[in-house]
Symmetry: C2
Subunit: 413 residues, 2 copies
């Protein structure tokens, strides 16, 4: 690795557009540029492309294309799924209780908090285990006759924990409660067959799987009561108004097709690299892994380091050509500790020490080796500067008390 | 013109992306692809591009870049402007009256109708003149102590009528009422200096000015009370959550820069072609122009033809390589007559006969000549087939009664 090294290990924040995806998109900017709502040949070409893209994405979800609704991204999909269903229930005089978890993405959490604070809904925010898992029994125990919606993410964007969606879905179906999952981090990485997952609503975003930014989808199972949350020309069969972003949608569909084509193989490859990374980084004294050792996204690792702040590590790694994150990109300029790390029980100082590395298609073994090397270097350097580590001698692990280990696994010290 | 002729005259529905715009966008798909919220170098590059794009668009509006908020398009901008301000007023216990016109785009009209039907607001839908203009005095007369928002479009998407926004803005300012304008059809075509227009909120959309689809902006004057209508990571200074669509935003900014560079010259050029088109088409017997002869968008013409339906004309023109529209693309599959044509006083059968032709940068004099020729041919053919024209002999203008002329100007018969 030389001085111009640039290693991108923040694929959970966003991904580069795959060259094949861009190639598929290009005709839809300058040539096949029609408005799919138009009746002339330009419009019909656009409508055809839209239809084919919808079909490709429906295949990836094992649903019908009539169940796929395009949006501007994961945030809008989450908002539409949640606000669109419960506001309709409210109008119809149905129950007003929502179940979610403490570790949802802000697009879910803030939408639900808004409903709680401003629109008269009551909410159960389920806790998670120290590895970041919600239990099916806790969902069951939270259900009341008033419960109208359960929204639980497929996998967490910070610590990668994969939730028991299939089982929660079975429960929700048995109780006739709508079930939404935010699959933004899993669509294109894990299987997202909506029938296996037993979900009624599923959100996905293009730019997390080598597609363009500014486009997402919401799967809405046929018969699901939902109303639009925006108003206009009645596009997407009346559910989501706004001229369809054809080039973006075509790119999203192609990105999905490419991801599905190679789903398991790439997941296995990234998992091996992830494990090598985890193995290497956990050799650092006073380090730990946030989230589960095994049941996590194939490309996700999230570490903690005693006595230093994650932000410093990210900045120093950036200086060394490595793009990493402390957690959610959305919250990277936020001074509050991550709500996810807080929910798995980390005290603020440990929650502030997080480093998230999310691998991708371009990640090679040599990148992982280099990254491990640089993390060791950077952590040592930051600890030299740290006002927190005063009096602590890492060689002998002093200051690293046994009862602080519970939040992670495989702490090497 | 040969058999492969394709003439696009539906620029109000959407425009092709300018090649220079696409060129500006390309690096942001595969190379500078970071999430602008990320702290590492990829994120900083994206943030820089975002900042530069915001500055370019602020220049086009003569506002500060802090007053520019990116959205997924015109519909979202309109929704955010309207729902975001009045819901905040409602929470603060302010008045609940909104003033708009009967000819707004559905993104405005349906948002306001929703507020009226479901959220307890009262609305005045101002009528317009037969040429499609709202009068400043009618706005003034509609104002009550309860009025919190006036939303009136800059120019109409169907008939091109340009509203007296500056004067309405002066009135709104004098009365301390927020003023929003939907400038989706004018941004990049007419001057949209927000200070000249006296607006507090202005919506614009990229794909109407040779930029990509899926991106728009809302200008929000500093100090305007507004709250977000979606929930998530708090992007766009907390007003609009969702990872910023950098490639789209960069394209939008470049499209705007190119449009501003040549604004008046291109407007003059299109106006000349438009006038040639109007002159030629109005030679058809039993035809008229919807909207004003002079005070209309430089690229817009909207005709009516007795005894035939606009949909038939659009389909036949499409067969002849000409892309036109009956009106709004959003409503092109709608069986109801256009609310705009109804508002200017057309009876349903005349409203159904509309043909909108909207010119653009690629439109050349020969396209206009060819289009006139084909319209004459198509109208004649459709009238031969028309069950409505039974007993009518067009050569002598029978069936075309004087009192039916009031909705248009320069009817040639």
């Amino acid at each position: 690795m030389n001085a111009d090294t640039r290693i991108y290990l923040d694929h959970a924040a966003t991904t580069p557009v795959d060259k094949r995806v861009l190639k598929a998109m290009l005709p839809f900017f300058t040539k096949t540029f029609g408005n799919s709502a138009s009746m002339h040949s330009f419009g019909l070409e656009a409508e055809k492309a839209l239809d084919e893209a919808r079909e490709k994405l429906a295949q990836a979800l094992s649903c019908t294309k009539e169940e796929v609704f395009f949006t501007s991204g994961g945030t809008e999909s989450d908002n539409l799924a949640i606000l669109g269903t419960v506001r309709r229930f409210k109008r119809e005089g149905k129950g007003k209780h929502i179940i979610t978890t403490q570790i949802e993405h802000h697009a879910v959490l803030h939408a639900i908090q808004h409903l709680e604070r401003k629109e008269g809904f009551s909410v159960t925010y389920l806790p998670v285990s120290k590895d970041g898992f919600v239990s099916v029994s806790s969902v069951e125990n939270a259900i009341t006759p008033e419960t109208i919606l359960i929204s639980i993410m497929h996998a967490n964007n910070e610590i990668g924990s994969i939730q028991p969606i299939k089982q929660i879905g079975e429960l929700a179906r048995r109780k006739s409660i709508l079930f939404h999952t935010d699959a933004v981090q899993t669509f294109g990485k894990l299987s997202t067959n909506v029938n296996d997952l037993n979900v009624d609503l599923l959100s996905a975003s293009s730019h997390k799987l080598y597609g363009p930014k500014g486009v997402g989808l919401l799967f809405v199972r046929k018969g699901t009561p939902i109303e639009s949350i925006n108003f206009g020309g009645g596009h997407e069969r009346g559910l989501r108004s706004g001229t369809e972003n054809i080039s973006g949608i075509v790119g999203f569909a192609e990105a999905s097709r490419l991801a599905q084509e190679n789903l398991e193989k790439e997941a296995e490859r990234e998992k091996r690299l992830r494990d090598k990374l985890i193995h290497g980084v956990l050799k650092v004294e006073g380090s730990w892994l946030n989230g589960s050792r095994e049941n996590r996204l194939p490309n996700n690792a999230n570490f903690g380091f005693d006595f230093i702040e994650g932000e410093g590590i990210v900045l120093y790694l950036s200086d060394r050509g490595i793009a990493a994150s402390t957690g959610s990109a959305c919250s990277s300029h936020d001074l509050k500790p991550s709500h996810v790390l807080t929910a798995i029980g980390l005290p603020p100082e440990k929650a502030h020490s997080s480093l998230r590395l999310t691998l991708g298609r371009s990640t090679k073994p040599k990148h992982v080796s280099y990254t491990i090397e640089k993390i060791i270097e950077v952590v040592a350097k930051l600890r030299e500067l740290s006002p927190l580590k005063k009096g602590v001698e890492f060689k002998t692990s002093a200051g690293w008390k046994e009862d602080e280990h519970e939040h992670g696994v495989e702490c090497k010290h």
